[in-house]
């Protein structure tokens, strides 16, 4: 006759972890992962593996006292225009025929902005001997210093690549 086990005991098996996979080659240690010492070390901003921001950009910095200083320019301000009576909607109707447009290159932009004035100056002989125009337009008057300032002001996409 089989006896019933009236004493319920719990056991902790340690052999599972020993038999399991221990592949630590690809083991990203995000913010709550890792040992206590590792997390303490991470608090130092100069440590090799800093606190993972997870893609969020800081809107300020921590000064020497540890207090957080907000930089208003870093706070993103999303400007959304009023979309009432706007003809373009999220989806496109299946009825649309294929629209093929050629690539709009920098050369095309030049042809639209600068080329007409240059051609007109040349025909009316309003160019000096070295080729510079006699009546320059605002774009043609811009110096390299002005261009550098413009390239660093708001609205430029020189180094931001549209982000």
């Amino acid at each position: 006759m089989s006896c019933v086990n009236l004493f319920f005991k719990r056991g902790i098996s340690t052999s599972c972890a020993r038999y399991g996979k221990r592949n630590f080659r690809k083991f990203p240690l995000f913010n709550k992962r890792g040992s206590k010492i590792f997390k303490e070390q991470r608090k130092d901003p100069n440590y090799d593996l800093p606190h993972d921001k997870r893609g969020v950009r800081d809107i300020g910095y921590n000064d020497q006292d540890g207090k957080f200083v907000l930089i208003p320019e870093k706070v993103p301000e999303i400007i959304v225009p009023d979309l009432k009576d706007f003809p373009l909607k999220p989806y496109v109707s299946y009825r649309t025929p294929d629209v093929i447009q050629s690539e709009f290159t920098a050369q095309d932009l030049f042809n639209v902005v600068y080329a007409p004035k240059i051609a007109k100056d040349f025909q009316e002989e309003k160019l000096n001997d070295d080729g510079s125009p006699v009546e320059p337009s605002p774009e043609e008057l811009m110096t390299s210093e002005e261009a550098r300032i413009k390239a660093e002001q708001t609205g430029t996409d020189l180094f931001t690549q549209g982000c």
Partner: protein
Amino acid sequence: MRLTQILLSKIGKYSKDFSNLPDRYINRAMEQVEWKNPKGIQYKANTVLKRRKFKMGMHRPWTAQFREDNSPGVSHDKVWVEPIRKWSFFRGDRVEVLVGKDKGKQGIVKQIFQERNWVTVEGLNCVLEKMGERKDFAGVYLQIEKPLLVTNQVALVDPSDLEATPFEWRFTEDGEEVRVSTRTGRIIPMPPSAEETIDYKTKSTYKEQPKDTRADDVVQITFEPQLKTFEMDIMENIGIKEDRIPPKSYWY
């Protein structure tokens, strides 16, 4: 890019035409990644372990049954498929069944399975399958069309005399490629249902919904080239003026 091209070539164009699903979704639904590098800075190159050979059957690749048939542990025998250079059977085509108990009968093509060279003909070559049998429930019988091989089990029907005929692809005087019956010499026109998808019968009869941009609005080209970036244009429109001069910075 190469991997997605390999995946894309696994599903024929006409097999996924009717579903009207984007390729990106189909690939994402199909792939079963067993292991992939976790997100974050990695010091070893990315490895992706996933299934490369799928068992193509009656279930479409984005369905749950397909996923079950192709789950990680499941292996299947090699299925030999004759490569067809030009697919010639479209939804809505009248075809004659040449084998089975419905031999000699004509029907209309309903589904296309290009990866296995199969077509399903409406109402022909059916079997009865019992579904949902339980202790208290007898189960329902469903009439399911079994697929037919395009190469030798099905033949296109010439619409002029409604007889099975071999055919060829030839060019008209306008340069259009059409199927021509070799027996009679008549053109077998492309059926109008070939354009049909789950969303619309034909593109021109599609009813535009409130969230759809109308076709006339899409086709309009309103781009005016200006020497401004997108942000500069918005600034000018709203009236934001940038007067601040940034201090000089130096690179060492």
